[in-house]
Assembly symmetry: C2
Homo-oligomer: 201 residues x 2
Amino acid sequence: MKKPIEFYFDFVSPYAYIASEWVEALAARHARTVNWHAILLGATFQAAELKSPVSHPLKREYSLRDFQRSARFEGVPYVMPEAFLVSSMLAARVFWWLNDSRGPAAASAWARAGLRARFTRRVAIDDPVALKALAEEVGLDVAQAEAAWGDPQWKARLKRANDEAIAAGVFGSPFFLLDGEPFWGNDRKAQIERWLSQGPF
Amino acid sequence: MKKPIEFYFDFVSPYAYIASEWVEALAARHARTVNWHAILLGATFQAAELKSPVSHPLKREYSLRDFQRSARFEGVPYVMPEAFLVSSMLAARVFWWLNDSRGPAAASAWARAGLRARFTRRVAIDDPVALKALAEEVGLDVAQAEAAWGDPQWKARLKRANDEAIAAGVFGSPFFLLDGEPFWGNDRKAQIERWLSQGPF
């Protein structure tokens, strides 16, 4: 039995959004499944002493352009969000609540809905009101979702996910572990595809 | 007449080395030429408030692995250099001396020789003795090369190249400007190829 692709993402990451649109289909073509892991870039950036690409002069302007171009390159719709440096903490806690109580399929459906909402409809993923509206839209119990994101159990679960990701070497989003091999970035798609087709190269 | 591809590189950059092995052939297939620009990442990093990928925890280990894997992916030989955080100042001044006094072909031949020496034979590009040996090997007048890298004229020429690159938005290596469109990284090869084939996308 082939190992699943471990897929780490932050709801605020444009490149994770793009990758989230191809990772399941690519995995399926190679008889693999995908384990989704919601993480916070704030935690991995701290561990790796990094900042967001949009926090750097010159790189900011390039990145805003490249997010859109890379989405077009993959044929994925993209609308620039209103803000980049926002926290996906609440959305990520809902992810882990769903993952552990309803199963991975419910969690990854929430992940895809959240990423699409942020990057195609400018939904403010950090805003509790917008997040409740999104939860309702995708058929979650809104009161339960809100309770989950305030619950110490799911705060701790997200913290554990971040700690485990960092321990596994994850420092960015999207990040993939494939048979233990690390791949960082939407732009490693071709290398991942070769690995899936031919094995280690 | 189609515009040349503006190709910015630092002699110490592994991804620039990999890209230097495909950029000419790719350009030629699309009836383009390549304008090579030797720059110093030290200057662009300062402008963009960045550090080398190997200076960050977690990212360092990944990058050392990814340099090699990305070279294998492109079918390019790669031997890890002894050190990453070294200065290519002398080699870059020789580049601009050759560019302005012998022409771009002499400069790009030096660039390719320097990159290959560093990344396939562990030649210490920052060491004057090793650099003189390399100059001799590729048929340059060694005394002239040494005089050039100590000459204020070529110091100033390199500084101007860095300033112009930064003014054009360059913050890393390799960096490409293609019809004014910026592409950063060896991993933008597929996007560059699409642009060359189909124009803007």
